[in-house]
Symmetry: C2
Subunit: 212 residues, 2 copies
């Protein structure tokens, strides 16, 4: 294995460094975040730095880049308090990727890229109709991160929409049945396949496989 020191990494050209560092931490649960502004213009953006925080209360976080780089999603979440997260899939990946472009505020990315805004359960932000796994969040807290002026946005789960056939008998959603993608770095997409599932680990017994 080759050693890359931070001094070496910091000296690299900007895009090379971004690709390397962005992929070093692993594959990411890439999704589209849907919001609506006070003029009822719908916004859609690609986000991959999404993280599970806890199941009770059910809460999920994501990193929003500094405001000058990615303003609309965060502004809409701040003003409305609500947003949706929608998994991405191979069959409409080029449309979804296009939603990562910076469109003017008065343009709805749904219309621009050709995806369908869907409203349901009186939730005030748009879901992506084409997505097989959709969930809705209420803003809980926005934490500014000193290290690079990005934001850690924490939401509480309010609704989930999933095909029941993906949900196994103990609650696991088999996202390979949903063909949910992961992303790598800034612009690469991968599809995960099942490997193994294990029983809860205890220190006084070896790992044992369970059905996946």
């Amino acid at each position: 294995m080759k050693h890359f020191s931070i001094d070496k990494i910091q000296g690299w050209e900007r895009f090379f460094r971004a690709n390397f560092v962005n992929s070093l931490s692993g594959f990411k649960p890439v999704s589209l975040i849907g919001t609506r502004d006070s003029n009822k213009i719908d916004n859609l953006g690609v986000f991959s730095n999404i993280v599970h925080i806890g199941a009770n209360p059910a809460c999920i976080g994501f990193i929003n880049r500094p405001k000058e780089a990615a303003p609309h999603t965060l502004a809409n979440i701040e003003s409305s308090g609500f947003y949706t997260i929608n998994h991405m899939h191979s069959d409409w990946l080029s449309k979804a990727h296009q939603a990562s472009a910076k469109y003017p505020a008065e343009v709805s990315e749904f219309e621009a890229v050709g995806l369908t805004p869907v409203f349901k359960e009186n939730f005030p932000a748009p879901f992506v109709g084409e997505s097989h796994v959709q969930y809705a969040l209420e803003l809980s807290e926005i934490i500014p991160l000193k290290i690079n002026n990005s934001f850690f946005v924490i939401g509480k789960l309010l609704h989930a929409f999933v095909d029941e056939s993906f949900v196994s008998k103990d609650g696991l959603i088999d996202l390979s049945k949903a063909s949910s993608l992961v992303s790598l770095g800034i612009d690469a997409y991968y599809l995960p396949s099942p490997v193994k599932r294990y029983a809860y680990a205890k220190y006084d017994r070896p790992s044992s496989e369970i059905e996946l």
Copy 2:
């Protein structure tokens, strides 16, 4: 698609709810975090709630559960200020999963599960010798999260160890060549395969594929 409201989800049995909510947000970059305590006992734990924060400075965050649930890793990071993150792979997955068991503080999980602690570049925390993608962090900030008493731990990248053959000409590390795994929910593991890579999206042109 079936609608699951938060009222319904909150009423579920605890493990069913944990499996469902934990998989809803997507596949996760599962890794082993290596630390060393002040008595030079090495600790290893499985962490999947890892998130890229930024490339300049290069920084990565992870969620650490409340202290009573997962005390050793966080205590060692607080006292030493340093830790390693190491990707997991199929060929030693049962050993890695076993590191998620709660061992007594005086036991090194490396020894207990049969993985190899490696020290290099004078870094004070152990790397996992069996891992094909290893990186080392210096603690930057620990942010307590009010929503569930967990912690958002932010580290600055100091070293990366990667086989050069995995690094593409523009810096992307092809983690499918490294056979790095993702996890789903609490205990399921998946292997991603390449789908597509796209050029940087601009609003005035359609998505265009690039070589992956």
